[in-house]
């Protein structure tokens, strides 16, 4: 191949290549920066985190003023917060998405809902935290609790759930709706028996990715749910919980044993990253599988 190109215009081409090559490698370098950053973070967290990661670390409660022991209640707190959050947000989000995708007509109502959704999606997470503090913790008197925290998280992730669900509903082909209506189904029967089941894998994928997003949030729970320390897992919705992101923050900044707890901080971070990664992975696998399976 090389020989064929050699005789002609070699000099000019080389000059040109030099310039092009320079910018190409510049772009490559910048492009790789993201990947390298991720790799460094992962390496850093894994290197220190793996030193403490063990079966006991994820199944034991913290001991000795949190300088020893594990993070079991912390993991459970995050799991409970996100699960409860999903229980609140999925019905509201999916119902809103059905309204937007199937019923709404262009007009004031649709514009209002869409605008609020976009605005809500852009609000910084600490604002949600303050809002949750004001409404759920104080006004509704839920206190710093699992309930207040998961409701706050639910409001924060709502726009995401709505938009992924709406996309999933809109991806259901018109021909399915047509066939259902031609069978004498009402609009609601069509939605319930044809559109929703067809869109369900997409909706669930969105929910899983939403869960992954929520589980790493610190700001919305720090005023509404997260406790510095609880001895075990909460026994009611009205008890505060420990949570992975907040635990890292607490150990790294607020304790009296910041240096001693360094390994635990990294261990907690590693567990959080693994949790988020595995949920994202699950969501991505589900999504690619349903794309392959889709035969319409």
């Amino acid at each position: 191949m090389e020989k064929i190109h050699k005789p002609f215009g070699l000099v000019r081409r080389k000059k040109f290549n030099l310039k092009q090559g320079f910018f190409l490698s510049l772009m490559r370098t910048f492009g790789f920066t993201g990947a390298i950053t991720l790799f460094i973070i992962l390496f850093f967290v894994a290197y220190y985190g793996l030193q403490v990661l063990s079966w006991d670390f994820i199944t034991q409660p913290p001991l000795e003023a949190m300088t020893q022991g594990g993070i079991f209640p912390v993991i459970m707190g995050t799991v409970l917060l996100t699960m409860l959050c999903m229980i609140f947000v999925i019905p509201i989000g999916v119902t809103t998405a059905i309204f937007l995708a199937e019923y709404s007509k262009p007009g004031f109502m649709l514009t209002a809902v869409m605008m609020s959704m976009y605005t809500l999606a852009g609000v910084p997470s600490v604002v949600f935290g303050l809002f949750g503090l004001g409404i759920f913790v104080v006004a509704l008197n839920f206190g710093m609790s699992l309930l207040a925290g998961s409701l706050t998280l639910a409001i924060m992730v709502l726009p995401y759930i709505i938009s992924t669900s709406e996309e999933a509903l809109k991806a259901v082909p018109f021909s399915f709706r047509e066939a259902s209506l031609a069978c004498g189904a009402t609009k609601w029967q069509t939605i319930r028996k044809v559109v929703l089941p067809t869109a369900m894998p997409g909706i669930l994928t969105g929910a899983i990715l939403g869960t992954a997003k929520v589980s790493g949030e610190t700001a919305p729970i720090m005023f509404t749910a997260a406790a510095f320390f609880t001895p075990g897992i909460p026994k009611s919705l009205f008890e505060p919980v420990m949570a992975l992101p907040y635990h890292i923050y607490v150990l790294a900044t607020a304790g009296t044993h910041i240096e001693e707890t360094r390994p635990i901080q990294y261990g907690t971070a590693l567990v959080l990253i693994l949790l988020v990664f595995s949920m994202n992975l699950l969501g991505i696998i589900l999504r690619s599988r349903q794309r392959k399976k889709r035969s319409w």
Partner: protein, 253 residues
């Protein structure tokens, strides 16, 4: 001859916004016969067909004028129960569109909507519909497999079975074989002639040979208007209108 015509259409116009898609149609469709509607693309034949079970309602800008009676009841009357109308006037579409569920669930869809829950009754309806659609032999061992896994021709017959399961009086076919190969097409044409004994069939087709082969009556439409309507033999052998003659001899279209 009171109930000879299942549809009676008179002075019938269909608009999309300001555009008049179907104008001044007068057409009677005889019960338990096959009526074909032919004509070049964009002549309004599908629009007319979709008016008969009010599928045009799905297009927000569409509206109608005039009279279209089904069994003596005005289809577009305010009090007409659209759901019941669509139950009695089924439809099969151009592209086979089974639901992404099993063969069985596809056929049981209509009966389930009407509240039939008893398994034995549903089994019977499903089997009957599949037998009538000439699909039973091919799918009886894979009733629980996805309908979308069948071949194109089988999927279209599944859609016919799905429509038959709601015990319709009429089935509207919107170019049902244009996405199929010749063998599947022949299969479906034979099936339609078999069904004619119990169900009125209105079929829109691009394929003039198909209209000639299977229909009793043929309507020829051109730019929204009904040019000629009559006995299929007469239309194809001895058309009264010059335009019809030119179309069926393939001089345009």
């Amino acid at each position: 001859m009171v109930d000879k015509n299942i549809f009676e259409i008179k002075d019938f116009n269909i608009y999309y916004g300001d555009f008049i898609a179907v104008k001044n149609i007068a057409l009677d469709i005889e019960i338990n016969r096959i009526t074909a509607i032919i004509g070049p693309s964009g002549c309004g034949k599908s629009t007319l067909l979709r008016a008969l079970n009010r599928m045009n309602d799905l297009i927000p800008s569409s509206r109608v004028e005039g009279r279209a009676l089904f069994q003596g009841v005005n289809i577009y009357d305010k009090d007409t129960d659209v759901i019941e109308l669509r139950r009695r006037v089924g439809m099969v579409f151009q592209k086979p569109n089974p639901f992404p569920s099993s063969v069985y669930e596809n056929v049981a869809f209509g009966p389930r909507l009407r509240g039939i829950k008893k398994k034995s009754l549903l089994d019977e309806i499903v089997e009957n519909a599949l037998v009538k659609a000439d699909l039973w032999k091919e799918v009886k061992d894979k009733l629980n497999e996805p309908g979308l896994g069948l071949s194109g021709g089988q999927m279209q017959r599944l859609c016919i079975a799905r429509s038959l399961a709601q015990e319709p009086e009429v089935i509207l076919f919107d170019e049902p074989t244009s996405a199929l190969d010749p063998i599947s097409t022949g299969h479906i044409e034979n099936l339609l002639q078999e069904l004619e004994k119990t169900v009125t069939i209105v079929i829109v087709t691009h394929n003039m040979q198909q209209a000639a082969r299977i229909s009793n009556y043929t309507a020829f439409m051109y730019i929204g208007e009904l040019v000629e309507f009559g006995d299929t033999n007469t239309i194809f052998v001895n058309p009264a209108n010059k335009l019809t003659e030119e179309y069926i001899t393939g001089r345009f279209g």
